[in-house]
Amino acid sequence: MTRVGLIRLAVIVAMIGALELACQTGLIRHQTIIPPSEMATSLYALLASGAINADIERTLGIIVIVIAVSIVLGFALGLVIHALPRLREALDPLFATYYAVPIFIFYPVLIAIFGLSPIPIVLIGVATAVVAMIIATLNGLDRVPRVLTKVARVHRLDAVTTAMTLQLPAAAPYLFTGVKLSVSYGFIAVIAAEFILSPAGLGRDIADAYSDFNNRRMYALILFLLIIATVVNTVLHVLDVRWAERRAGGRT
């Protein structure tokens, strides 16, 4: 690991250690935050007991569906919009403002329409993530050097072959950024939805534990979600950084 990486690890460990110390010595009250060690043991016990397995399946299942739909739908829509410049121009102000407005505020409206089921959660998740994928797809297709399409025509390739063998690989780094964002937004939207209002799921669990004053359970669940989200997002971020070299290196 690099020197910077080691320092970073040390900083993180030091912060957790400081929190642990502050909790154990009573600097931070037990009713407010429990020591990280207790969070970990509580989580382990919770997982071992299998009590939250159903909720884990449900939440992660919904997230996976949201991400998959957003990526596929976003890519497909991106392809279509890219092929229709006039449509793209008309939709441009929409894309520019989409992430400037709190889309999530529509979640209660979706509940009113579809009832208290996974459907509004999936819908709000896809609504949040899909546009990032569309924008990334448009960007990626833009960046495909024109000369590649000319090469395709010289080789007399058909549209599908051109797309699969030339455009897709050339646009891939940008598409990956879209994937990374879709994953991140998918997590955020689904967890928030479950938290605000949902019959079941990890988000709902945390909200319940909070109102029940059950700190041990609440912090265990929070830790679980944070670990999963951190691992997934970090892996994608590292991959994205590696692909970023491909994005920048193409010019020179």
């Binding site: 970073r8 505020i105 209660p108 944070l226």
Partner: protein
């Protein structure tokens, strides 16, 4: 020609949205989703009411405070991490990862620390806004050409003068992008906070509307928030473009 074509295209898109809305309304029924025209009529009646004004004021107050905190703390962190290479290298991935996490999971912790009043919402909103402001400010400072610093020394500027008359203007366009994005996410954070645990504010107004099946009120408030956010963003974007054009 293109201007009129743009205008007609926008109108077509707007018309499509209204048509889809109307269709969904027919399918879902008024209690779930009111018709577009009914919503517009309701909007006109609702805005001047005291109930709306009180809730809007509460949200604006929390939002304003959260924004000040987000900007202040975010800029400070961003400047420090941008100027101090090692801190920037160590801290940037940490900030980037936190930025991607579902921060709502931490909201109960915020509530436990700050309580259920306005402080909780403000803290939660600020938590959201600090990150883009810090990350983009850091990037802006790193991007300042080294030669500016050398030029400042040859012009015998004091450190304070260097910061205020050279570094700040040089970094301003990108810093402003951070401020614009920070605006959006801070608003979202405050609204989320209100939706979960608050009796006052537009977010909680939407939630209570939903439980009381007052769909017109709910959709109207959502639209007002959208329009507010969109206009504010457009204004900030316009300022941002003017800053960028000089550079």
């Amino acid at each position: 020609m293109t201007a009129t074509r743009r205008a007609t295209d926008t109108l077509i898109i707007a018309a499509v949205v209204l048509v889809v809305w109307k269709i969904l309304h027919e399918i879902a029924g008024s209690t779930a989703l009111p018709a577009p025209l009914a919503t517009m009529a309701y909007l006109v009646h609702m805005v001047p009411t005291a109930r709306f004004a009180d809730n809007a004021a509460a949200t604006l107050q929390a939002f304003g405070l959260a924004l000040l905190l987000a900007y202040g703390i975010g800029l400070a962190i961003g400047v420090w991490m941008g100027a101090h290479r090692l801190s920037g290298a160590v801290g940037e991935p940490i900030l980037v990862v936190i930025y991607s996490l579902p921060k709502i999971t931490l909201y109960p912790v915020v509530l436990l620390i700050f309580g259920l009043g306005i402080s909780g919402k403000v803290a939660f909103g600020a938590m959201h806004g600090i990150l883009p402001v810090a990350l983009l400010t850091m990037g802006a400072i790193r991007a300042i050409p080294q030669v500016y610093l050398r030029a400042a020394r040859t012009l015998h500027l004091s450190p304070w003068q260097t910061i205020t008359t050279v570094l700040l203007p040089a970094a301003l366009p990108e810093v402003f992008t951070g401020l614009r994005i920070g605006f959006t996410v801070t608003l979202l954070g405050v609204l989320l906070g209100e939706m979960f645990a608050s009796k006052l504010g537009l977010g909680s107004m939407i939630m209570s509307d939903m439980s009381l099946a007052q769909s017109e009120d709910m959709v109207t408030v959502a639209i007002i928030l959208f329009v507010f956010a969109a206009c504010a963003n457009a204004l900030l974007l316009w300022i941002e473009h003017r800053l960028h054009r000089r550079v």
